[in-house]
């Protein structure tokens, strides 16, 4: 398996990113990912019951169509909490793109990231789409990555290549920002493109598994976004024998998990105000879910995160966070190992003496800078 921390589009994919007028900064704010061949699509969305308009439209398209050719994404506005007009705007966006590409409307998926509760400037998007489509190219992925960023300080991209039945298969993933990461900004987005040939059922299953072990194992502030999306398109252009089981499937799962985990870690590395990258390993749990619950509760403890920021090895706050899950555990069973807090990387291991399961979760510390950013400090 070959891995590079750079986006290289798999066979049959093109991309582009332009400035259409949504961001005040004048930076790229409209991205398009395009597959020349109709591709299978699978996605995991936020479980927040207030969901953004583009997710409503994308879910509708994912239910009613079997193949997809494009994903259009704007930054600068999350198009969330915008009512029926918001849904109309999201749908219009897919219509503009579909018309320009000459593909069915339902084959176009849509996403947004940025401020919540303000209406999208749909005229600017309409105006931008012809340029967006005409500029599509294999190298356009670099502009697309920029166009989905809000306050991210670096682009999050990765490409993996692996051999499946003698054929070269590529998986390219791009992602943006951790949780609700800046003044009024929302959303963690991840788009993965692969030329692998795979069936729908398997694709759904392996994406779910990879997301659970990666994006569902990170937390910046415990705040669930209304736009979170992980979307994969698989267009089969690699020409491999359909991935169904055995070594092929195992290899593909391993590669997809790597893509998701690496991108998830980049999201944490770029968490706003963060000075530390914290790995929390909960071991000796009765089962995986118990380990994950404990790990996430520590990761979301404001006091633990603040202690790490202060390089203050506070075991009591870890113990309190474990106990707050309601897990029946006494303090003699609890083994807490906290590595040095001096560097950028911090490791915490918590042993529960209850079984053999484990889970690893990644988080960042909580700094005054986080507050300043999110309070719209001057």
């Amino acid at each position: 398996m070959n891995k590079v921390l750079k986006a290289i589009l798999p066979k049959g994919f093109k991309a582009n990113g332009i400035f259409c007028g949504l961001k005040k900064s004048g930076k790229e704010d409209l991205a398009l990912l395009y597959s020349e061949f109709p591709a299978l699509g699978s996605a995991r969305f936020t479980t927040n019951s207030i969901i953004a308009a583009p997710l409503v439209v994308s879910k509708m398209h994912l239910r009613s169509a079997k193949k997809f050719q494009a994903v259009v994404v704007n930054s600068g506005n999350a198009n969330c909490f915008t009512g029926k007009l918001g849904i109309k705007d999201a749908l219009s966006t897919t219509e503009f793109v579909a018309a320009q590409l000459g593909v069915p409307v339902k084959s176009v998926l849509v996403n947004s990231t940025g401020i919540i509760g303000k209406r999208l400037n749909i005229a600017k998007i309409k105006q931008g789409v012809p340029k967006l489509v005409s500029g599509l190219s294999a190298s356009g992925i670099h502009r697309a990555v920029k166009a989905i960023m809000t306050t991210d300080t670096f682009a999050k991209e990765i490409t993996l290549s692996l051999k499946i039945g003698g054929k070269l298969v590529n998986i390219c993933g791009i992602a943006k920002g951790a949780g609700m990461i800046a003044p009024d900004m929302a959303t963690m987005l991840c788009f993965i493109m692969t030329d692998a040939a795979i069936n729908q059922k398997t694709l759904d299953r392996v994406l779910g598994g990879a997301v659970d072990k990666s994006f569902n194992c990170i937390s910046v502030d415990g705040c669930m976004s209304t736009n979170d999306t992980v979307l994969i398109l698989a267009n089969g252009a690699a020409g491999n024998k359909l991935i169904i089981s055995g070594d092929d499937l195992r290899e593909f799962i391993k590669a997809l998990e790597t893509v998701c985990l690496e991108l998830a870690k980049m999201v944490i590395l770029d968490a706003e105000g963060a000075t530390k990258f914290i790995q929390i390993d909960v071991v000796q749990a009765k089962n995986y879910l118990e380990a994950k619950k404990v790990a996430l509760n520590i990761a979301n403890s404001v006091l633990f995160k603040t202690a790490v920021f202060g390089e203050n090895p506070n075991f009591g706050r870890v113990a309190a966070a474990v106990g707050a899950t309601g897990l029946k555990i006494n303090e003699n069973q609890l083994k807490i190992k906290l590595g040095s807090l001096k560097g950028k990387q911090v490791k915490l291991q918590v042993g529960l003496s209850r079984g053999k399961s484990r889970c690893t979760v990644f988080t960042s510390d909580l700094s005054p800078e986080y507050i300043k950013i999110n309070a719209e400090y001057n």
Copy 2:
């Protein structure tokens, strides 16, 4: 009903507070509340499964004895995560006090607040007890309030008087600090003394109800402490007819709820780093528990609290916090009214369009000062 924001001991109670050597500051760190008459006792403790040693001992005494005469409390050390030695120390503390007072060991309850994970200096406590007991007086409650404080900036005290069956009944409550409120410090403690005559079953029930509507409706940082305690002693010295039902019970409940709610609000007013006192009213819920879940989820949203600190009216963050509870609600049903953010007092009302139940929760904003305090900043 007469209310003063000052501690005035009910009939038959005495108190004292001294410096015994636990606090580096040299301020009062050992408190004693004493009832001349054996009193009924009832308590609500933290639901954290890691609980502090004095709570283990107090729970044991509450189970095995029927009447109580003293509560001894130290600040400067939480005696939590301290193993069997911690339990031995807590028990020794009750033994010293019992011997000096000439009362049964099981009639003495014990509590601690301060740093987690360090052994208590039991020698200092032993040395301090004779002075603590000999100085007991009706006016000593003011020293006792000081002795349970850690980084609280003001004493939290209240006294209510009411007539029950023609007799004057008094309820006096004192409390300390919000959640885990300072560097390595833990614990919200509340002690209530009343001279009311009431039976055990009724006392347990009314305390539970009052706590649910007050202390269980506040949050500073969503971090559950290992020492949280609300304890009431009722010694019957008022000579009223036993409170069992009817108007007497209703009046007593109302008074006890007022004591708990006022003290809970003071805890929020004194939350570390706080610049705002936020009242969150969730209305039109299907039931009380649903309203409370939504209100607490908003109160614990780091992003909402940060927005309030920044005086930034961010409705999207409120909507996201509501949706994150998993409540099946669409955005058209959700009515968010956020008052002015300019003053110290902020009011948020959230309507769910689902029913007629409501819940009010109190919280504070999240400021860089909170981080500084809890990171042990210099």
